[in-house]
Structures are given as structure tokens and as C-alpha cells.
Subunit: 80 residues, 7 copies
């Protein structure tokens, strides 16, 4: 499961095309399919949804998230 993660960005690389959960510094959460990221941890998600207490609050679609506002990122649990 954790094969091939030698550097932190390897996890993001493995997550491309998959759903991830992004926690922001202001306490909110967004979930979406990871399309792209860079070394500043700027990321682009597709089919992005804002969550509130685990519930979907708003559909955003495509989103560019600035790396500086991110606390942590994890592969999203299956939600379908």
C-alpha cells in the first residue's frame, strides 16, 4: 500500500486522478479528483466539493487551491 513513497510529493503523485481530501488552514475541507500539483503544493482538483462536518455543502467543479492555505491532504475514503 505504501510502496514507492520515498519523498512527500510521491504521495501526491500516486494520487493523481484519484479523490483526495484537502484540509485548509481556515478549518474547512474540500474533496475532489487531483488533476495537478506543483512544488508549492498548489493543486488543481476536478469535481470539487466543499464539506462541512463531513457533509457536502457546495459543488465547486474545477478548483485551483493555493498551497499556502493547505494543512494536510489525504486520499479520500470511497464515497460512492
Amino acid at each position: 500500500m505504501v510502496n514507492g513513497i520515498e519523498r512527500p510529493l510521491d504521495l501526491l503523485n500516486q494520487s493523481k486522478g484519484k479523490e483526495i481530501l484537502v484540509n485548509l488552514e481556515n478549518g474547512s475541507q474540500v474533496v475532489g479528483k487531483l488533476l495537478a500539483f506543483d512544488i508549492h503544493i498548489n493543486i488543481v482538483l476536478d469535481n470539487t466539493k466543499e464539506l462541512e462536518k463531513g457533509e457536502i455543502k457546495r459543488n465547486i467543479g474545477l478548483a485551483f487551491i493555493r498551497g499556502n492555505t493547505i494543512t494536510y491532504i489525504s486520499p479520500a475514503p470511497a464515497t460512492s
Copy 2:
């Protein structure tokens, strides 16, 4: 729909000339047509509007937004 997004800035590049929704660190939102951006995510919008709870609060016109104050950016839903 997500063709051609390999790096985060590709989404901003594709959004040039289109309406985007910009979420700021202080919790406010602005919407406007993306005219220009740079690698610091400084952006210029035209026909900018400040939103409050999804409603237009104020028309600003042209606006330069400093990248450091931005949380995330998404293509704006059609509003016309």
C-alpha cells in the same frame, strides 16, 4: 473538460477571459473576468464584484488581487 491541465497554473491559463470566483483568506469572495495572473498568483479581474453569501454586495470594476491573500479559485458558474 479537464484536458490539458498538467500543472496548476494551466487551469488559470484556461480561465483567461472567463469569469472566476476567488476566495480570499478573510472569508470574502470576489467574482470577475480573469485578465492576467503571474507565478505569485497575483491576478487582475475585470468587472469584479464582491459577494456576500452568494449575493453581489459591491461592484468594483478592475481589481488587482495579491496572490498571498487567495485561498482558492474556481471557474464561476454561469450567472447570466
Copy 3:
């Protein structure tokens, strides 16, 4: 109206000698004539006025504003 804006700083360049409205991170606003700016978005305004809820609160005259404290900048609406 938006001719010639290819990079974010182009808007500031076009605004030299004109009134701009500067929104600061602490929520306050200042308005004044843009005399100079640099790549850190440090700016100098002439005939600067602090605003509170859109009303002039204080005349400051010349002012040096540190870029790091700026949220966004827009050409000021005509006030005369």
C-alpha cells in the same frame, strides 16, 4: 477599457497618476493617487485618505504602504 493588461502589474502601471482604492488585510481601506509601486507591491500614494464604511475618516497626505499588508487594489470610482 482593459487593453494592454497582460500581466497583473500592468494594471498598476496604467493606474499611475490616478486614484486607487487599496484594501488592507486589517479590513481598512485607503484611497489616493498612485505615485509609485515596486514588485513587492509596496506603493506610494499622494493625497491619501483613510476610509471607514466608504466615508473619509482621516487625511494622511503622502503614504508608503507595505505590499504585504495589501489584499486588493482597484481604480477608485470618481469621487469629485
Copy 4:
């Protein structure tokens, strides 16, 4: 026990494959097995759990934690 720690990152290096406790700037804590880190103190944990007052609040699985949000890190006490 403290052999071989000459530079701060040596402690993280020794902790690879072991459980660590990560304290975040927002006051929350996560615990997990350290898989990778870089010089920005970005880290990847496996089997990550969010803690609240020392109790497990949520299982996250794999997690990428941005270094800028970390206060301090310590080897986790045995919890089994």
C-alpha cells in the same frame, strides 16, 4: 537513545517507519507511521489518526502534512 542526532533532521530520519506524534499550529494532533519527509518538513504518514485530548477522533490513512503547519514532532509513545 540519542546517539547519532547531530542535526535536527536526524531525528526524523531515525523515526522513519515508526510512529510519530505531530502537533499542528491549529492545536490539533495527528499520529501515524512516518514514511517520508523533506527539508521543508513536509511529511507523509501512514495509518494516520487525528487525536482529540489524546483520544482517537478519526482514522485518515495516508496523509501528506505541509511542513508550515507543524509545531513539533515527537516519537509516539507505544499505544498497543
Copy 5:
């Protein structure tokens, strides 16, 4: 009055030896004679006074002010 200000630091240069009003991020204000500054906007004032609601609260004398804590600077109105 605004002759010779082509870059933001020109205003600080013109203010050397004169009284300036410095607004800090924590909301407080200090006034004093500008002796020196650098590109980080670190400044040294002489005959520095802390203000509270425009009134002198405390005499500080010489002061080194770290640029990162400054919001904006303006030439002080004549106070004698």
C-alpha cells in the same frame, strides 16, 4: 510636492531627518524622526513616541522597528 518619487523607497529617502508616522500591524502607531531604513523597510527613528488615539502615550527615544510589522508610513503632520 511629489517631485522625484519614482519608486516607493524614494518617499522614505525624502523623509530622512523628518518626522514620520508609522502604523504597525497590531494597530498601534509610533511617530519619530526617520534616521535610517533598508530594503526590508526596517527603520530607525529618533525621538520616538507611541501614540494612542492620536495622543502621546509614551516616549521611547531611539527605536529600531522591524519592517515586517509595518502597515504604512506617512510624513507626520506638523505637531509643534
Copy 6:
């Protein structure tokens, strides 16, 4: 007592292997034996203890503390 301190990091160098008291930006304090530090003021402590109002609140053992979260550091008073 203060011989040999010509640069700030000299104090940290002299404190290696000794107890230091570390004050963090969130207002908390930790005390422990300084094992290592770098130019970012990232530090590793051994036998680390979290303090609350001067009392030991929790034993942490080894700890990596990110420099950016530190306010000030002082040699700890003898506590045995």
C-alpha cells in the same frame, strides 16, 4: 558567563547537551536537553517536557521543534 557569544547561534551552541526552555508562539513552553539545531532554529530536545504555568504537564521524550514556531529560548534554571 557570557564569554564567547559573538553571534546569536553561539548561545545555542554553548547550550548543547544542557537543558533549555523554549517558548512557542502559541504561548506554551517546553523544556528539554538540547541535542541539535540548525540555521532555521529547528531544534531537537531530549527528555522534553511541556510546561503549564511553570508546572510539568506532559513528558514528551525526544522532540523536533520547528524554528518558525519559536519565540525565544533560554538556558533552563536548575530544576533538580
Copy 7:
């Protein structure tokens, strides 16, 4: 009195071996004899005392203060 201050760090240089008052971003103050500083405004004080409303609250002895937490520094008024 202000001879020889051409750059901000000159004031710190002149203050070596003398008492200075350091104001921190969290609103607290420390006073002590300046032993060393660097270009990040990291400083080391000897015979450091924490102040509260101008009164000595705690004796700290030697202290390393991280530059990023400093608001301003001034030569301390004679206190003996």
C-alpha cells in the same frame, strides 16, 4: 546622540553591551543587555527580564530571541 546611524542595524551595533527593550509580537516585553544579533534580527540578551506593564515579571538570564517575533527595539531607559 544619533551620530553614526546610517543603516538600521547601526543602532543595534551601537547598543551592544547596553540594555535594550524588546517588544514582541505577542504584546510582551523583555529587557536585557544586548550581546549579539544577526541580519535576521535574531538577538541574544544577557540578564533578561520579562516585563508586564513596565514591572519585572520574571528573570530569564540569557535569552535567544528569534527576529521574526520582534516588533521594535529601543535602548532601555536607565533603571538603576
